[in-house]
Symmetry: C2
Subunit: 274 residues, 2 copies
């Protein structure tokens, strides 16, 4: 029943696609294996990291010390595949469109179900994702070029170092969105309301000040043009913990596949701080 990412309209009616539980049910049934951008768009989506309890303490401290790139939405009990604070009947073994299984820091499989890999010592971490604040920016009337151009957002390894914890450390990865100055000011206001999904920008203006030598060569995602009357605006990015995972090389780890997030029952507006 696998389908391309273009044919979503043929699977989900607009009514269904706004309903988080309905979308999650269809993902669980194997109807959808691709990215979740635009699905149930009023709802919070999450980055997922699943680690054995032996490394989970380090990772929890890493997230606590680096809340802008690693904003924790939920942490499960060891062995518990439910996430009751994020949604009714979520089963992390089946409710992502696609997973990545890592062994010793390398991807070894990309399954659509991890029930066969589940263990009593696995702890699930769900981290906020920029989809939530991008929706808020769009609703505020602020254009986002990468969305207009159907691209992935441009991401860069900065020279801002995260605070290390146990085996986890590394540079902060940042996403960049070009904006006119007035839009950048408004974007600071809008995203400041959402500290649980990366919050306010970490930098704007000269990229070399945070160790980015060329905006044309992102480390992840797609390059987008910055016009003469725009400034690049940089946010802490959820790829940061994945980069730390690659460096830490835990023996076993499961994450979401890029863009294939966990869709929660929470509304983006529920995360707004004021």
């Amino acid at each position: 029943m696998s389908i391309s990412s273009q044919s979503i309209a043929s699977v989900f009616s607009p009514q269904d696609s706004r309903n988080a539980q309905q979308v999650r049910k269809q993902i669980r049934q194997g109807v959808w294996h691709s990215h979740t951008s635009g699905l149930a768009s009023d709802h919070v989506q999450g980055n997922v990291v699943i680690l054995p309890e032996a490394q989970a303490g380090d990772f929890l401290r890493y997230c606590q010390r680096n809340p802008k790139p690693c904003p924790l939405l939920a942490v499960s009990e060891p062995g518990q595949s439910q996430l009751p604070s994020l949604g009714a009947n979520i089963d992390i073994c089946t409710d992502l469109p696609r997973y990545r299984v890592w062994r010793d820091g390398a991807v070894v499989d990309e399954p659509t179900d991890i029930s066969a890999l589940w263990r009593d010592d696995l702890v699930t971490f769900v981290l906020g994702c920029s989809f939530s604040f991008e929706q808020a920016l769009l609703e505020a009337g602020l254009p986002l070029r990468h969305i207009e151009q159907g691209k992935n957002v441009a991401m860069y390894r900065s020279n801002i170092q995260t605070a290390p914890a146990g085996i986890f450390h590394g540079p902060m990865v940042v996403s960049m969105r070009p904006m006119k100055a007035a839009a950048a000011i408004r974007a600071v206001q809008v995203t400041s309301r959402f500290p649980n999904v990366h919050g306010a920008p970490v930098h704007l203006g000269d990229p070399t000040l945070i160790g980015i030598s060329s905006l044309d060569a992102p480390d992840y995602g797609d390059a987008v043009e910055v016009m003469a009357d725009e400034i690049p605006v940089f946010w802490a990015c959820g790829v940061t913990p994945q980069a730390a995972l690659v460096q830490a090389r835990p023996a076993f780890c499961i994450t979401h596949a890029p863009g294939a997030m966990l869709i929660t029952d929470l509304l983006n507006q529920q995360l707004a701080s004021f």
Copy 2:
């Protein structure tokens, strides 16, 4: 009893200088004729414009249409020299350290009391001033170079046009404070909380995009250096309505003398929007 602006400590004890009513009483008694920067610093200070009722309607609409440069804190009844919403026993005829009297767009006198000029048709406008948000920035740990260097803030006529109303029109005057990017982002957050004292910046980055060809030559105030790792951040400025007054050339008008503000009983924190 006139004294220099340096000798304030000899007149006001620290206790007194934090007390708005105490400071206002000494100003009324003629003890203080100079600028009010740093006096009763927890309290809101205001720009003052006094116009005959014949022009007051135009000016009120001008402020309503341009709330960022002209944030109205209070408007008196015609002929009423009290401002009860701003403080106990304020008398606008005596409670500013120094006034400017304008006839046909030119300053003709700078008295310390305007009781002899008062008329039954005069309307007083009090507008928020950047002292309030600067105190909030300093309390947030953000350095302000012009204050560190004992200078007046640098101000420029931008090419952003205000919305005209009756006889009043003209460019928005902006104040500029150089900041590192992270401080600029924090400054957007801090000043957004204070819409009644100019609020969030109107621009940041390239000054030529708002018609400022050289930061070294401010139209008002003093030039300050912008370091290589800083960006200029621009706020709407309370000089904007004075520039509009000069252009409109009303037959008669009274304002505060530069820097010699009305000290109100309101606390800066009372203006915070959240």
